[in-house]
Symmetry: C2
Subunit: 342 residues, 2 copies
């Protein structure tokens, strides 16, 4: 099997570090591995495949000889550097929001729309973490019977705001327990023993960017501009798995028996729905898992026509919500032979 030269943009971040883990775990055929980050991280070293690899400064000429770029250094840097990577012959799987809604760029979750990889032009976008975690579960149900409308509320871990936000949750919690001022820096409000509406910019419709991503990205991946989605996104004092309460309205009646059968067979989904034990998806159990956990699968009694379901999901934000999905895209590219070694 061919080995691919891989570059990780943003290698020192929370997602970049999990990309390293996942490339190793899944035996992705990595030849050279180039770790790219900002100048201040140069000199840091990380272990991969028994070797220590030094971080290099991300520059326009960083991509010579690279086949695959896994980009997770923020939208601004993706906008600046992805074109250079593509010009150098690489395929970029971009974990930022920079290219997601670009009609020239496929937005892909391999369990949902792998066929969209066929028309890529060098950049493939990885969806928003909350979108992935919702849609991996909603898609197989939608595929069975069309979903007309989704009402989703999120319970988002701090990992979605990066490694420094994770550190902040820990440090702030220590301070609050010691009776000291929490002094938020990375996040705009106290996160220890608190929660708040996701702090992305609120647009003219009154929705924050995070919410609009869940709406627009779902439509793009499902190839359905008619599906109605409303979302309320909330940051909670949890380290690295997002949870979501999902209410679904289908075009026709659907039973929980049908839903369970479909979800039990769905790739990337694991049912955790132990009613007697009151054991359902929890972020501490989703963390470190590849599958998105789903439970509380029930008929929505507020839709007496039988067309509604309620679900509760938890998924690792850093894995399926980001790094794992990106590596799965790369694997799918290899398998579909739409990915050529430089």
């Amino acid at each position: 099997m061919a080995a691919y030269s891989v570059a990780i943009m943003g290698a020192t971040g929370a997602v970049g570090q999990v990309m390293l883990e996942i490339l190793a775990e899944r035996d992705f055929p990595v030849g050279e591995l180039r770790l790219l980050a900002s100048a201040r991280s140069v000199g840091k070293e990380f272990e991969f495949d028994g070797k220590s690899i030094a971080v290099q400064e991300l520059k326009e000429d960083s991509f010579a000889g690279i086949d695959l770029v896994l980009a997770s250094a923020g939208g601004t840097l993706s906008k600046q550097y992805n074109p250079h990577a593509v010009a150098a012959g690489a395929v970029v799987v971009d974990n930022t929001s920079a290219f997601r809604m670009d009609p020239e760029v496929p937005l892909v979750v391999p369990e949902i729309n792998p066929q969209d990889l066929e028309w890529h032009k060098g950049i493939i976008a990885n969806p928003n973490c909350s979108t992935i975690i919702m849609d991996v579960v909603v898609w197989p149900l939608y595929h069975h019977k069309r979903v007309e409308r989704v009402v989703v509320s999120t319970y988002q871990a701090v990992s979605g705001a990066g490694a420094r936000a994770m550190e902040e949750l820990e440090q702030q919690t220590r301070k609050v327990l010691a009776g000291q001022e929490p002094a938020p820096q990375e996040l705009p409000h106290q996160i220890a023993f608190n929660l708040f509406s996701h702090n992305s910019t609120i647009g003219p419709e009154g929705y924050c960017e995070e919410e609009m991503k869940m709406i627009k990205e779902t439509r793009k991946m499902f190839h359905d501009e008619q599906i109605q989605v409303t979302a309320t996104t909330v940051r909670v004092p949890v380290m690295r798995a997002h949870s979501e309460a999902i209410n679904l309205e289908f075009e026709e009646p659907i039973s929980t028996v049908e839903a369970r059968e479909i979800l039990a067979a769905a790739p990337g989904v694991k049912i955790v729905d132990e009613v007697e034990a009151n054991h359902f998806p929890m972020p501490i159990e989703a963390a470190g898992e590849d599958d998105v956990l789903v439970g509380r699968i029930r008929q929505d009694i507020s839709q007496p026509d039988g067309c509604g379901l309620d679900l509760w999901v938890s998924g690792d934000q850093l894995r399926k919500g980001a790094a794992l999905n990106a590596v799965q895209i790369a694997e799918e590219l290899v398998q579909r032979k739409v990915f050529q070694k430089a």
Copy 2:
């Protein structure tokens, strides 16, 4: 003004302690104050109105000469003792779920249905905390234009599970930060840096008791058996204020301008909706407040007919969710003269 002899059942609990605070804050005309709890709390003393009051053991004959009982010692004890209190001539404002759905017992939030106090027969039920916090905000909108359906997801503080659960969140968090096993006792799962589906029993419809309370109690207070409600209730690592993401479907179009006007004028509600500053209701700011905070007031874009709104609320579970509402009921009883001094 007449002074009333008041007994607090469950005086040493999280809600009982806040009842003491609120009676003092609001200058409720208290004559004798009798603090009732289980035998193991006898001997504890609490300060009220400059005097120290010793806890007495709750017994069937504890209510002689009492005008008002504020009961918050759990449903089993309310079932056992409330009839004795009523027989002794007292009015009971019961904070437990024991009598809420009894057709002979009014279920009251003074901002919603104070008129139901007129037909009480000795017991008045205080609704579930999540129900109160939702309905104080939904009712004025409903009163303006009928709400057909509610989809609500809760973010519930540990105070709802009592004083020991609050202690557990703190102690468990210290343990997790020290790298020790969290060892849940009061709550069924780890709560530090985690969250889980509300652990009340799941019924035949797949809804837990907490969710069914939100559905049934809303119908009873609104006098509308047709309003459709679905709920997903979740416990989060927050001390004492519940938050809720509320999606509303109205019978006719409603604008955010209308909604804001109505909520700005609604008693018990405070709008916190600073879009530029990304400042919305948060549990740390709702804690200690009497008003339920509401923000993220926006047109639901998944209902293109203009009949939908999305809201985000936070309210103090111990105050408006429990003790404050109970004292407000007592005040309303006094004002309506349906409350006779024994």
